[in-house]
Subunit: 711 residues, 2 copies
C-alpha cells in the first residue's frame, strides 16, 4: 500500500482514503504488493506462478478479456465482446442480436468467425538482451534495431508452432522488455448470448454510466484439435481442456469486500507530461468528438435503408459512440479537475527537485523542455496529418483497403534497412484471412458518403498543407468530388473479396498496372502518406526516448516501484467494492438491482425489458441469486480496481479467488483515469455473477451451462 500511496503523491493527487488501489501490475510484481494485508485470502502464487497451475492460465485474451469457467473450455466474457461474432452470424438471416442465441447442445454451438483465444503460456523478462542497443544515439535507428531483435526472438518461438504467438513488449517506453508467449486457438464458438435487451440494456445512453443495469455477459467455448493444439474451426475439433478453470463464488460480494481482476488493459497514459495533456485536451479530443459526431450522423442516415444496412453500420456506430463519449468524458474530467494546471504544477515541482541534484539535473533537466519541443513540431503538420489519417477508417472501407494493399506491396519491396522491422509475410497472410470481415460490414452508400466527406475535408485544407495527390479531384469542388466517387465505386473491383486478397500478394508494379480508380488514387497518395509516416516515425522515436527518460526521472524521485502503462499485456489490479460521490449531495451505492432494471423501462430502445424477465420480476422468482441485504437480484456493482478498455470481460475475483463478476466498463466521472488514477471517483463497473446465473438459469433455462460450471 505504501508504494501506491507514493505514486499518488508523486502524481500530484490528494489522497483522502486509507487504501489506494491504483496500479495495473505486471504478474511478476505481485509479491511486492503485500496483498494479504489488503484482504487477499489466497496466496499470490495461486494467482500467478510460472509453469504451475494458477488463475492466470484461465484468463483469455480475446481482443478484450475472457475467463475459462469449466473443465471443457467454457469462457465467460462480455456481451459486447461477443457482439461482433453474433453480428456476423446475424447477417446470414437470423437476428441473434435482438433475440440472443443459446446452443442447447455442443453441436449447436455457433462459430464465432474471426475470434481467437490466446492463453498465456510464458512470461519472461528479456531486457538484458536489448541492453546493447542503448549506445545507438539515433532513436530511429535504435528503435529499428530493437524491433529487429523483438521479431527475431518471436520468429524463433513461433517457427514450426502455428498455434504459438510470441510478443516482446517494451515496458516503461523501452526501459524494460518482456516476452509473452501465448497458445492461440482460432476456433471459438458462441454458447449463449442473451438478447440485446439484457446484454446491451441501456445501450449507448447508459454506456460509461453508473448506475448501470446491463447484463453485459456471454458464454463462448474454445475448441482445439484432438491433439490439444490450437487450430482454425474444424468439425473434428473438441472442447479445450484447460489446466485450470475458475470456480464461481459460493457467496456473492457485499460492499467493502476485497476484489481483484486479471485482464488485458489496452492503453493508459499515466506517465504522460503536460504537453500531451494539452495536446489532447485542446486539440485531439475536441477534434475527434466533432469528427465522430459527424460520422455517426452520416452513418445513421443510412440506418433505415434496410435491416441489412442497419446491421452493417450498427457496429461502427457503436464503436464511434463509445469513443466519442470516452473523449467527451476525458475533456469534461480534465476541465473539472484543472488537470492541465495540476500537471504543470507537478512538473515545475519535479524540475525543482531535479535542480537540487547536479547529477540528476544534468541527466534529466532538459527532458521536459525537449518533450515540449517535439509536441510543437508535431503541431505544425497537424491539419494535413488529420485528413491523411482519416483514410484508415473514416474514409470508408474501399479507400482503406486500397491504401493498405498498396502500402503492403511497397513495404515488401523496400531494402531491409528501410523496411518496418515488424513487417512479416505471415502477418500479411493472417491479414488476408481477415479481409472478409472488413467487407462484411461494408455498405456501399455509407462507404461512398465517408469518402466524399474525407475529400471535402481535404478540399478545405489551407495553402501549404494541401494534399497534392488529391488536387486533380478537388479542383472542381463538390461536383468534382461527387463525380470521382460515383465513378470510382461504379468501377472499382475492391468489393470482390478474392480480388482484394490477391492484391496483398502482388508487386507494386502489378498493382499500379491495374486500372482501378481507388488503387490508382492510393498509389498517387503514397509519397505523401509515406512522408507523413516517416516524419511521425522520427518524432515518435524521439518522443518515446524522452518519455523513457522522464520515467527514469520520476523513478529517481521515488523509492517505490512503479507499474508500467497498460499495453494489452496481462495485468493484476485490486480494490474493494465501493460506491462513490459523483457530485455534491449525490451518493451512488455500489450495487444495482433487478428492480432498477424495471424502473428504467420505457418500452423504447434501449430500455425494453423482455417479457420473460418482467414475469420473473413480478413473480419474485429469483432463485438462489438474491443479494441478502438488498433482497433483490444484484445486477451490477462498482469497485475500486484500476482498469481501462481491454479489461472488458475480465474475471472479478473475491478474496478467495472465486468468480464474483465480470468487468465490463468504467464510470464516466473517471474517464480521465487513463491519464491519472483518482481513488475517490474512479470505479470499475462489473456485472454481478448472480445476475449472469439468474438470467442463464431462469430466463434462458440453460441449466446445462450451470451444471457444466459445477453449480
Amino acid at each position: 500500500m505504501k508504494r501506491t500511496l507514493c505514486i499518488l503523491a508523486l502524481m500530484g493527487c490528494l489522497v483522502t482514503h486509507a487504501t489506494a488501489e491504483e496500479g495495473m501490475w505486471l504478474l511478476n510484481q505481485l509479491t511486492e504488493l503485500q496483498l494479504e494485508k489488503q484482504g487477499l485470502k489466497i496466496s499470490v502464487t495461486d494467482i500467478y506462478s510460472p509453469g504451475k497451475p494458477c488463475l492466470a492460465q484461465a484468463v483469455v485474451k480475446l481482443g478484450a478479456t475472457g475467463e475459462i469457467v469449466s473443465p471443457e473450455g467454457l469462457v465467460l466474457t462480455n456481451h459486447h465482446v461477443a457482439f461482433g461474432a453474433v453480428q456476423r452470424a446475424s447477417t446470414k438471416g437470423t437476428d441473434y442480436i435482438t433475440s440472443g442465441f443459446l446452443a442447447r447442445t455442443r453441436a449447436e454451438e455457433m462459430e464465432a468467425p474471426g475470434y481467437s483465444a490466446r492463453i498465456l503460456d510464458k512470461m519472461e523478462d528479456v531486457t538484458r538482451r536489448f541492453r546493447k542497443f542503448k549506445k545507438i544515439a539515433d532513436p530511429v535507428k535504435r528503435g529499428k534495431a530493437e524491433k529487429r531483435l523483438m521479431r527475431s526472438i518471436t520468429d524463433k518461438i513461433e517457427k514450426g508452432h502455428p498455434d504459438l504467438e510470441a510478443q516482446v513488449v517494451p515496458m516503461f517506453r523501452g526501459e524494460q522488455f518482456i516476452l509473452y508467449v501465448y497458445r492461440r486457438f482460432d476456433d471459438v464458438r458462441v454458447v449463449y448470448i442473451p438478447p440485446q435487451a439484457i446484454g446491451n440494456y441501456g445501450g449507448d445512453i447508459d454506456n460509461w454510466m453508473w448506475p448501470r443495469h446491463t447484463g453485459d455477459f456471454s458464454f463462448l467455448r474454445i475448441y482445439m484439435a484432438p491433439d490439444g493444439s490450437g487450430r482454425a474451426y474444424h468439425k473434428d475439433n473438441v472442447p479445450y481442456q484447460p489446466a485450470t478453470w475458475i470456480r464461481v463464488a459460493r457467496e456473492g460480494l457485499s460492499e467493502n469486500d476485497f476484489t481483484f481482476i486479471l485482464g488485458y488493459p489496452g492503453r493508459t497514459y499515466r506517465y504522460r507530461t503536460s504537453h500531451a495533456v494539452q495536446d489532447n485536451f485542446e486539440h485531439v479530443y475536441p477534434r475527434l468528438i466533432q469528427l465522430y459526431k459527424e460520422t455517426i450522423e452520416l452513418l445513421e442516415s443510412f440506418q433505415d435503408d434496410s435491416v441489412v444496412a442497419r446491421m452493417k453500420v450498427a457496429g461502427f456506430i457503436k464503436g464511434l459512440n463509445n469513443g466519442m463519449k470516452n473523449y467527451q468524458g476525458n475533456v469534461d474530467g480534465m476541465k473539472r479537475a484543472g488537470f492541465l494546471q495540476k500537471k504543470q504544477a507537478f512538473e515545475a515541482e519535479l524540475q525543482d527537485f531535479l535542480k537540487k541534484d547536479p547529477g540528476l539535473w544534468k541527466q534529466y533537466g532538459d527532458v521536459l523542455p525537449a518533450i515540449g519541443g517535439v509536441y510543437k513540431q508535431m503541431a505544425q503538420t497537424r491539419e494535413t496529418d488529420n485528413v491523411l489519417s482519416m483514410v484508415n477508417r473514416l474514409g470508408g472501407t474501399m479507400a482503406s483497403l486500397a491504401i493498405n494493399a498498396y502500402r503492403t506491396a511497397r513495404e515488401r519491396e523496400k531494402p531491409k534497412a528501410e523496411r518496418d522491422p515488424l513487417f512479416s509475410e505471415s502477418d500479411v497472410q493472417r491479414r488476408i484471412k481477415r479481409l472478409r470481415f472488413s467487407l462484411m460490414s461494408f455498405y456501399e452508400p455509407a462507404d461512398k458518403a465517408l469518402l466524399k466527406r474525407l475529400l471535402m475535408k481535404a478540399g478545405q485544407l489551407p495553402e501549404g498543407g494541401r494534399i497534392q495527390a488529391l488536387e486533380p479531384i478537388l479542383k472542381d469542388g463538390e461536383k468534382g468530388i461527387e463525380a470521382f466517387v460515383e465513378k470510382a465505386y461504379a468501377t472499382t473491383r475492391l468489393k470482390d473479396l478474392g480480388f482484394v486478397q490477391s492484391l496483398f500478394t502482388q508487386s507494386v508494379k502489378e498493382i499500379e498496372a491495374i486500372n482501378d480508380p481507388l488503387l490508382q488514387l492510393a498509389a498517387r497518395m503514397y509519397p505523401e502518406t509515406e512522408a507523413m509516416r516517416k516524419r511521425n516515425e522520427r518524432l515518435n522515436a524521439r518522443l518515446e526516448d524522452l518519455r523513457r527518460q522522464y520515467i527514469l526521472a520520476l523513478k529517481a524521485r521515488s523509492s517505490s516501484p512503479l507499474y508500467p502503462d497498460a499495453n494489452s499485456t496481462l495485468r493484476f489490479s485490486w480494490g474493494e467494492v465501493a460506491g462513490y460521490e459523483p457530485r455534491d449531495a449525490v451518493r451512488y451505492a455500489p450495487f444495482t438491482t433487478l428492480s432498477g432494471v424495471m424502473e428504467k423501462e420505457t418500452g423504447k430502445e434501449p430500455f425494453v425489458v423482455p417479457e420473460g424477465l418482467k414475469a420473473l420480476y413480478q413473480q419474485k422468482d429469483f432463485g438462489r441469486w438474491v443479494h441478502p441485504d438488498l433482497n433483490d437480484v444484484p445486477v451490477a456493482f462498482t469497485h475500486k480496481v484500476d482498469s481501462t478498455g481491454g479489461n472488458s470481460g475480465s474475471p472479478v475475483f473475491n478474496a478467495r479467488g472465486e468468480l464474483a463478476g465480470i468487468l465490463f466498463d468504467g464510470n464516466y466521472e473517471a474517464l480521465t483515469g487513463d491519464w491519472e488514477f483518482d481513488n475517490d471517483i474512479q470505479r470499475s463497473i462489473s456485472v454481478d455473477i448472480r445476475y449472469v446465473l439468474f438470467i442463464t438459469e431462469k430466463l434462458a433455462k440453460a441449466n446445462h451451462i450451470l451444471k457444466e460450471m459445477g453449480l
Copy 2:
C-alpha cells in the same frame, strides 16, 4: 400522525416510513395534529391563535409567500418572487437582474411596482351562513347564490377600509366556507436582491431539480402610511411595524431535524378522481407541453433582437419553462407510478365499500360514474375550447386586452341574475391600475407572432368545431392571416395605455363603435367565447358538486379528519429534513454546499459564479455560516414538508419556531405530488438561512440588514 397515515392508506399509497408528513393543514386544524409528539418544541398557539401575537401574523401573502424578519417590516422571500419587480425596474435602464440590487439606506430602497403584501388579520368559519343554499338543486343557481353571499360578506368588510381585503373561500369543493381578512399594503420596496448568478444559479436547467445550488432569496420591505394603514407608494410612507416578526435560528438544521412551514400553497388535486387523472395525463398535460414548447421556441427567436426584447420576453419564457417542466414531471411521474391504474383500483375498492352499506350506496353510488359522464361531455368540445382559451395569454397581449375589455363591458351590462356574482367595479378599478404591467412586457414582433400562431391553429380546427368569427380571416389561409395581423398591429390603439384603460370604463356600444380591428375581432368572437364560458360554467358547477359528494364519500370511509385541497389560503405543513432515493443505487443527501456551487460552474449561463463568491470560497471565508458536519456553507436542503406552487418564499421553521430557511421549490420526482403525496420521494427544497446570511454578509457586505434582523 395516525390521521395522516389513514389518509395515505385511503389514497392507496404504500406507507413505508414511521412518520408521514402529508397535509397542508388549515390553521384551525393544528390542535388535532399532536405536533409535540412529532418534535415541535413550541406550543401550537405560538404558531396560530386568533387575535393574539403568533407566527402566522409574520407570514405575508405576496402572490407567493414571504415572512417578516425585523421589527421594521423587512421581508424575506424568494429571488424568483421579487424577480418581477426587479425586471420592471431594469427596463428603466440598469440591469438589476444581472447585477443584483442593494439599498444601503432606506432612501435607496426601490419601489416594487405592482407588488402588494397581505397580512392575515382574521380567519373565520362561515359555513353555517351558506347552509341554506343546499336546497337549491341546480348547481349553477346554487353556485351563483353562494357567490352572491360571498361577495356581500366581503363587500361589507372592505367598505370604508381600502386596505382591508376579504375573501370567502370554499373548502372541500363547497362543503365548508372560510372567511379570510387581510390587511393589504401596496407599498413594497426592494431592499436586497442578489445577482441572478446567485439567486437564479442553475436557471431553468436546475429548476425543480435536486441537488440544487440556487440562492433563491431576496429582501423586501413593507411600507405603511404614518397612521399604520396600508396604502400605495408614497414618499411619506414609513416602514411597517409588525406585531410579530420571525427570529433567525440560533443553530442551523441538520438531517432528521423537525421543520414546519407556513405559506400560501396555490392548488392541489388530492381528491380528484381517475377521470381527471386520465384527462390530464392523456390530454391536458401533453397538449400544454407541446404548446409551451412551441411558444418558448417562438419567443426565443426574438430574444436576440435587443437587450430590451430579451428583458421583455424573459419573464414569459421563464414562466412557460417552469410550467412545461412541471407538466412533464407530472406525466413522467404518473407513468412511472402507474398512477391511473392505482386511482382506478382505489375507486373500485371505494365502490365496493359503499355497496356494502345501502344508505351510503344510495347517497354516493352514482357519484363516480357521474363524474366520468361530465368528463366525457367536456371532451366533446375540447379542440375548439383549447384554441379559444389560448386567447387569454398565448395569443399575445393585444388580443388578450381587447377580449378582456370587451368582456368587461358586456358583463357590466348583463342583468344582475346573469352577471358573474363576483364581478365588481372595484375589481375593475384595480385591474385598470395594473394594466401598465401587461404593456410593460409587450414586445410587438413576438406579440404578432403569437396571434398569427393562434389563428393558424384555429385554421386547423375540424369541420363542426370551427370558430365562425374567425372564418373571414382564415378563408385565405396563412396569407390572409399574415395580412390581417400586420394590418391589425399597424392600426390598433391598444398599445396606448391610456386608451386601454379608458376601454374598461366604456359601454359595449361605445367599444363597438371604435374602429379598431382587434376590438372588432373581440366583439365578433364574443358570442362564441361566451357560449364556451356558459357551457363550462354549467359543467364545472355540476362537477364541483359531484366532487364535493365524492369527498363526503371519502369522509364516510375515514374516521380521521381530512385537509382541504390547497387554494391560496394560509396553510401549515411539517416534516423532517431528509434526502431521498430518486432511483436505483442513487441516494441524494439533504444538504448541498458551497463546494457544490463551485463544482457546477461552467462559466456559461446559468452556471456562472460571481468572482466575489469564488474569492470567498478560495479563502474559505465562511464566517459563522458553516454546517459543522459538512465543514462547508450549506446552500439548500430537502425536507418532507408538503408544499406546492405558492409556497415559494415560505418561512422554514425549526422545532423552536425560528427561521432556518426559505422554501423555494419541490423536487422533480414528486411533481405528481399535487395529485398525491408520496412520503418516500416528495420533498420541498429550501435555501438554508446560513447561505442567505453568508451571501448577505460576506458578498453583499450588507451588515445593516443582519443587524436589523437582530444578528
